[in-house]
Amino acid sequence: MLDAKLKKEFRTNGRVTLALDASFTVRRGITVLFGPSGAGKTTILRAIAGIVVPDEGRIELGERVYFDSETGTNIPIQHRRIGFVFQDYLLFPHLTALQNVAYAIRSATHKGRRDRAIELLDLLGIVHVADRHPHQLSGGEQQRVALARAFGADPAILLLDEPLSALDATTRLRLLEEIVDLQRKSKIPFLYVTHSPADAVRAGDNALILSAGRIVQEGKPAEVFNAPRNSAAARAVGSENILAGRVQDHHEREGTSVIDLSGCELVIPYSALPKNTPVTVGIRSDDIIISRERIGQTSARNLFEGTIKHALPDGPGVDLLTSCGVDLKVRVTAQAFEALDLKPGVKVYVLIKASSCHLLP
């Protein structure tokens, strides 16, 4: 478990460009650090790794204090046991895949390093590329080698800085699953920076939403993305609801498929995916209709009963957080908000057209 509390101001020509002031805990599992670019995500990773020195604060992993501005503690990066995985892999270009991994391994003998490196490459399913140089590997293979290398040094925490954003959609999904799998096997905490809400919901056990240097919300990813608690968080996560589920059924003739969201069933446009495939569905908050009465005859394929948890006025509209089996954020105009008297606790009906639900890549 990592506890961090850090403050740092960045200035350009005397003007403060980013005032980082964040305290958070990285618990077991995968913690997603999400936020718009410039919010300070990478800076936080760099502070944990010891590349950036905070102005003030304290960072500790378990019993070990990495940094404490009060006692002047600042453990150098070499001694922090931190795995760092970058978007552009950064494999040493003069070494083969095997040599890259072996470089990280602390073993007295050449054979010891080699055996462990092979074992790690095998764990990631890329032992067949062991003797290739980085420029002979695909992006997905390079990132797997980078992961194997990070594990070679037996880290106490793994920091991933947008590890998938340079990869194509298919490779991304596969590798994301492998990363989740790797975390379960290794049992060390992962801190995963991403700007993809879908990846955050798919992989995260926890999510931290960062906006302008501050953590504006933390919690389960599905909750954080679909039920932001304040307008800063709502702006940071964007207007889309992100729902994780599985394909339950197909109605090919009607042109629809049914997704089980464990809480409710969602009808979406027909998709040829096999049953039980895990999927992520996106629904924009302004594509959802709220009604105070049950509407009988409607073209909307999804009709849920729910209650309003809270309402966040933002600009000309209001973001309503509704609970109807799953959390959904719904954007309405201020006028509708007034006219329907949509106070927290009020019972509502939520209508979503099947065509407003789209599968996220």
Partner: protein, 220 residues
Amino acid sequence: MIWPAFKLSLLVVSLATLLVGAVGTALGFVLAKRQFRAKELCDALLTLPMVLPPTVTGYYLILLLGRRGFLGRYLYALTGWTLAFTWEGAVVAASVMALPIMVKSARAALESVDARYEIVSFSLGKGELETFFRVTLPLAFRGLMAGVVLSFARALGEFGATLMLAGNIPGKTQTMPLAIFEAFISGEDRQAQALALILTFTSIVTIYITNVLTRRPTSA
């Protein structure tokens, strides 16, 4: 006159190149990777021998290292030995003249290495020294070798500063360029020609071999 000069040049240039390669890489590393206030001033001072006439540099070297020089007097008092008019003096002169080129090349080569490779190495628990020799140096190798070749060339052609510090003693401190000059002014054209050809040939062979050794692997 030809072979002693050739052998001396080879010795002087080899030692100077080794010295300059190591010292220049170290200085280039400090300039490329460390932040300190007087950095650009240091760079300017190290570049000075490239800008000044070699005779001026040689003159300063005498002031510094000659028998009565700022440092040379202590050396003389301690050992009874002085750099002036020795072949070691020729090594020092050639090194000082070649150093700026090496520092410039090394700084550029090391600056071009993405610092994040070093961060990765540190995060894997490796120290500064291991990171330098196993990551930074191999990644900057081609640029550093280019610097070494240019330093070699500069040391081989060194004339003015060598003349000032080491003099022109045949068989003792007379390097090829000095021998060519002496042969030419004393009207021994054939000897000058032979020396010039040997010098040219040696240079071509050295540069060719270095290029082959540091060629980028063709498979991309």
